[in-house]
């Protein structure tokens, strides 16, 4: 049993599965390709279990709070009630049931955009307080923001030169900067990926 506790075993599993997946891309060999495809399908299935693990974690965290009457335990109790009721309705009635559809569309469908939409008011506040040209780079940032907003606003389409300037900003300086970010991130990600596969990075393994 102590063999299965050794971290080296799991680093080896990561290495072998990673190598299999990479070779699958370069080599056309039925046994290899079929095994890699099957493993990928298994990862999809394991991911469903991982999602349900989120529910279990929620129960553990908020359940502890309710049990110990910790901070904001009343809200945690409400959350657990919502989780249990929605889960039971969904599993036993199905997601196509009128009640589940109603709750999804009118409650959840309103909650999400409301949460994101509240940021609109904070952005307006930030525009006044934070978008100040204190340096040349900040001026570039401000210019890009202003022209992007004008470009994205339909009213900008009827102003002279705004569509052309906005298009140019999206396609040239913004794309140039983003491309540099993409290349930099790719180099970093490849390095990190290789370190993970070779066992130098083991942070993903739980204690």
């Amino acid at each position: 049993m102590s063999f299965f506790r050794r971290r080296e075993l799991y680093v080896a599993i990561t290495f072998i599965t990673g190598l299999l997946t990479i070779f699958d891309y370069f080599i056309s060999f039925d046994a290899l390709n079929n095994t890699a495809a099957a493993l990928r399908n298994w990862v999809v299935l394991i991911a469903y279990f991982a999602i349900v693990l989120g529910l279990v974690n929620t129960f553990v965290f908020h359940g502890r709070r309710v049990f110990r009457k910790g901070q904001q335990w009343v809200y945690s109790a409400w959350l657990l009630f919502v989780v249990v009721s929605i889960t039971l309705i969904g599993i036993f009635s199905g997601t196509n049931h009128p009640i589940y559809s109603f709750l999804f569309t009118n409650v959840y469908g309103a909650l999400g955009p409301s949460g994101y939409g509240i940021m609109a008011f904070f952005i307006a506040s930030a525009a006044f307080r934070a978008l100040r040209a204190r340096s040349f780079e900040a001026l570039i940032l401000l210019t890009a923001v202003v022209f992007t907003l004008l470009y994205r606003a339909p009213v900008g389409g009827i102003m002279p030169f705004i569509p052309q300037i906005g298009d140019w900003i999206q396609s040239v300086p913004s794309a140039g900067g983003m491309r540099g970010i993409i290349i930099g991130m790719a180099i970093g990600a490849i390095g990190m990926g290789l370190r993970t596969l070779l066992g130098y990075e083991r942070g993903y393994l739980p204690e």
């Binding site: 990862v43 969904g90 959840y108 309103a110 509240i118 570039i140 140019w168 540099g180 393994l205």
Partner: protein, 205 residues
């Protein structure tokens, strides 16, 4: 029942939005209730979808088609839950190491072509010469800014050129971030406007 639900539905949406946006005035119990409802619903819905898909794609093939090889991912998935046992929690490493190995392999194998070669090729072979030259300079500058953090080891004569390139990189990144912020505003405003339109439809028609 259906009539009652259809009458109720816009009111629920508006009340939920008012609850969330009451935070703009100050934090209050209504906001907290709405916030926790959101978290609870999101968790529950994801779980419902995952269990539904497991029933269709895992349980049904095992039971109806005797596809017993699928017992392997079933066991691996269940091993994720050993984290709650002090003695068995090391078994959680099995599924995690497989997921990390395959996920890393899948990402890394295509990254060189998709994100390096294709992007570098477009930078050195652009369609429009002048814009292409500007993009090439900005790309080189932002890569320099990201990757090279110090002047150590560089020949002294190249340091002004290197610093100039880093400055260009900072400008390019500022332009990209400004455009990104501008675009982000659109998303946020769209969400707010969609909720306001629901309220307007309800009160004004």
């Amino acid at each position: 029942m259906a009539d009652m639900l259809s009458t109720l539905s816009p009111w629920i949406g508006v009340l939920v939005t008012i609850g969330f946006w009451s935070y703009l005035y100050k934090e209050n119990p209504l906001f907290r209730v709405v916030e926790f409802t959101f978290i609870g619903f999101a968790t529950a819905h994801a779980t419902v979808m995952a269990i539904t898909e497991l029933k269709k794609n895992l349980v049904a093939p095992i039971v109806n088609k005797s596809n017993y090889i699928l017992l392997v991912p079933t066991v691996l998935g269940l091993l994720l839950y050993t984290r709650y046992s002090k003695d068995l929690r090391f078994l959680e490493r099995f599924p995690i190491s497989i997921m990390v190995g395959i996920g890393t392999g899948v990402a890394v194998r295509a990254m060189v072509r998709a994100q390096l070669l294709a992007q570098i090729q477009q930078t050195i072979q652009p369609g429009k010469p002048i814009d292409g030259l500007i993009i090439a300079l900005l790309t080189l500058g932002s890569v320099t800014y990201f990757i090279f953090s110090s002047e150590e080891g560089l020949p002294k004569s190249t340091i002004p050129f290197y610093n100039g390139l880093r400055r260009i990189g900072r400008i390019a990144i500022m332009a990209a971030m400004g455009a990104a912020f501008g675009n982000l505003c659109v998303t946020r405003y769209t969400m707010a406007i969609s909720r306001i339109m629901e309220a307007v439809k309800l009160f004004i028609g």
